[in-house]
Amino acid sequence: MSSSSAIIARGLVKRYVTYERRGFLRRVKKTIEALRGVDLETRWGEVFGLLGPNGAGKTTTVKILSTLLLPDKGWARVAGYDVVSEYIEVRKHIGVVLSVERGFFWKLTGRENLRYFAMLRGLRGVELEKRVEEVLRLVSLTELGAADKLYEEYSLGMKARLALARALVHDPPILILDEPTLGLDPPSARRIRELIVRLAREEGKAVLVTTHNMYEAELICDRVAIIAKGRIIAKGSPEELKSLVAKEVPVIVRFTSRSTIVEASSLEAKLRRELGVEKFSLSVDKEGRNVLRVLARPGEEEETIARIVGLLSGIGYRVRSIEIAKPSLEDVFIALTSGEEK
Amino acid sequence: MKALSVRFMDAVRAEFYSYIRFYKNNRAFLFAAFIWPYLMMMLLLGLGYLFGDPRMYAERLGVRSPVLFVVSASTVAMSSVFIIDEVAGYTLYNRWNGTLPYLILVPMPLSKRLLSASIPSVLLSPAISVISALPVAVYIEGLRGFMLVTSLYASIILGMLPLAGLSVIVAGLVLTTKEESNVASSLAPFMLLVSGVFYPVTILPKILQEVSVVVPVRYVVDIAKSLASTTAAGQLYVAIYALTLMAFAYNLFTVPLLSRVEARVRMYGFE
């Protein structure tokens, strides 16, 4: 582990071959390029976020770095070991969360599951029991009284905690976590985030985490990379990335509709066609209001607002509030990946 | 907005669609379904030929052609297995799949819901087994073989009506348990065992003979024996009467019982 970078990847390319059915017997071969030359680096003691829309290549990158998939081109070293040829060594140095809701035996308790996986990692005797207990406490499963419950009785939050506990049970120096808070309630997500940061800061672990929750990334990541269509399109600290969109002003318009459902696709089409707006996102806030976030050019905020309000009112929406905000990581994401998911 | 009402036939149509699409998209399963009666037949005849004489078997069962009888019996057996498995296992498979709540959400009483799910199985599963058996039957007995197998289809359908009622009850009862293993999986071999599918019921212990009186498969097997018999088919009519009676009895029993089941599972949850 002498390398200064915990994880380093250069030019990773991965293609999948799929077959599309055409009629009863005919199948057409299709090649999907999941990664088109990914470069990234994670340092010791930092939380590195890999951000991107669905299908951008985050999980493929994680699987290559954790040795589960072979790249077609390029190379990667984890803890100084090559992920292709020295995969056994790599696996000894990483703790991985691939899914927070799968990957355990249903009829074993959380403790029994952990004990089993710890044994596969070579832990034994008193050390094994001590470590299992330690990680169960660390992720608060003991506190929740869930350590000795069968896995099939776990809530999603408990499953996520157990997944993290398994990644930590052998005390690896590197953690690779694929969307570790996906679908969790706020307290469980917060607990997992706190732990991730603590492990990096206090124990010097390198943590690579994928997410498309920008708020989370801004909160816990020291550096992030944005991946889209299999390529890293930006990387740096959240502050550095935000400076990329400093030339643009985020305008947030909250509005409600007469019917409760906003037809997002038709509204998106209108914004593009009638207002020429390209960089925007649509979501729903806690009060159930629709939130339109648009990046406007400096000096053109008021005009942009007026045109948006005009458009929304014209098609029957009621504007509730308008706000000009500071750029966030979400704005960077919008600016760089608008339209990528489609 | 006007709420859409769901008729029983809508649910039946949906189940037919699902059944047919499943086999269309899983041709390997369809192939396996065609092959299974032959595997059963081969197993019994293989053992029989190795350990003894088929003439002795024909004599003891009073059938003309042992091979034709075993083909018919295997067809009955496989149809029963498919129906019990598909109908009794319906709730369990959907629970595993996570689709159960959505199926339960269909605005219709549970009894009707489960009965609608059983209809494609009752009609199509025997059809698969019968089509599978047809070539051998025609090869052995020509036109008579063809007639025998098609009459067998009619009698299987008659026999499967009460069996489906029974299986629907089991499917409902499975909902009241939290058991994740397929507890219904022993039901099919047990019913076949007491029905004397490859042998006379009289060689079974007394208690099992008595149980077999209320098992519909027994009468379908009796019909198959009558059709392949060397003597006049006296028991044929008895079997047809018994099955008609059971079809009413089991299906009438289904509705009140499942209403109770539904009330109970709504209290404790479907999952």
């Binding site: 696996r91 074993l108 | 595997l39 019994l44 078997y57």
Partner: protein, 271 residues
């Protein structure tokens, strides 16, 4: 990886399977009962082919044939089937790779469940068959019986691993690939001594590895002289058992390294 590390991993896997077997005990008991019911259906049919005076002689042969077949089938089913229905769908394939543990080692541990299921099933079949024929002597030399069974399990384990790995490659459930199950029982020298088979089938039986172990087993059970002589059959059983197991392990490693790591874990079957 050192030997002690490998042995320790095996201990972890045995721990897992012992726990799971206990937690799923009702499912395994259910499958043992299922086996007993199916076996009884076919045995009662097959017995009707035999002369009554031959029954005491052929019953122990039938018993061991069925017992060996049950053990072999369940080894294949529990390994190839479990890969599909459980490991892949629950995301455990990749978790084991991450723990530097080959699936072949994990799957080999399923023998704990096979042994549990088989002991109960064999006891039930003995109970049924001995009550039909009125008592049976089934063990002349337990050492040969144990050796024969162990060799068969090693062969079935190797075969199950090959099916499981092929299932991972082709996205077809391993159990569906096992089309040889019944064929092997009848013509593979498991159901009956090779000597009893028609002459051309004896050649087929000799080619099927199980037949040699079954001949040794039958020698231990009822002192039927093995077809190729005791010494040769003992040697062949051991060599073929070790060979098939090694082939299964090597093929698994090949599929893990050369296929799964390139294409990823794909869904199998209906899921």
């Amino acid at each position: 990886m050192g030997l002690s590390e490998k042995a320790y991993k095996l201990k972890a896997i045995l721990y897992l399977h012992a726990l799971r077997t206990w937690r799923y005990k009702y499912s395994f008991i259910n499958s043992s009962i299922n086996t007993m019911l199916w076996v009884t259906i076919f045995l009662l049919g097959a017995i009707l082919f035999a002369k009554p005076e031959d029954l005491p002689r052929i019953a122990p042969v039938m018993f061991w044939g069925v017992s060996a077949w049950n053990t072999v089938s369940y080894t294949v089913l529990f390994i190839a089937g479990w890969t599909t229905w459980f490991l892949v769908t629950t995301g455990l394939v990749e978790e084991h790779f991450l723990h530097n543990t080959s699936l072949s080692t994990l799957l080999s541990g399923r023998l704990v469940s096979v042994v549990f299921e088989s002991i109960i099933a064999i006891a039930l079949v003995y109970f049924v068959l001995s009550s039909v024929v009125g008592g049976m002597d089934i063990a002349d030399n337990p050492l040969f019986i144990a050796y024969g069974l162990m060799c068969m399990i090693a062969m079935a384990l190797g075969y199950g691993l090959i099916l499981s790995a092929t299932g991972l490659r082709l996205s077809i459930p391993g159990t569906l690939l096992d089309i040889s199950n019944f064929v092997v029982f009848i013509v593979g020298g498991i159901a009956t001594p090779v000597e009893m088979l028609p002459r051309p089938l004896r050649l087929v039986a000799i080619v099927i590895p199980y037949s040699h172990a079954a001949e040794v087993l039958r020698y231990g059970a009822v002192r039927i002289e093995p077809y190729l002589g005791l010494g040769l059959e003992v040697a062949l059983s051991g060599i073929l058992g070790a060979g098939m197991l090694t082939a299964g392990l090597l093929y698994y490693k090949y599929v893990e390294d050369r296929y799964v790591r390139i294409h990823g874990v794909k869904g199998i079957g209906r899921m």
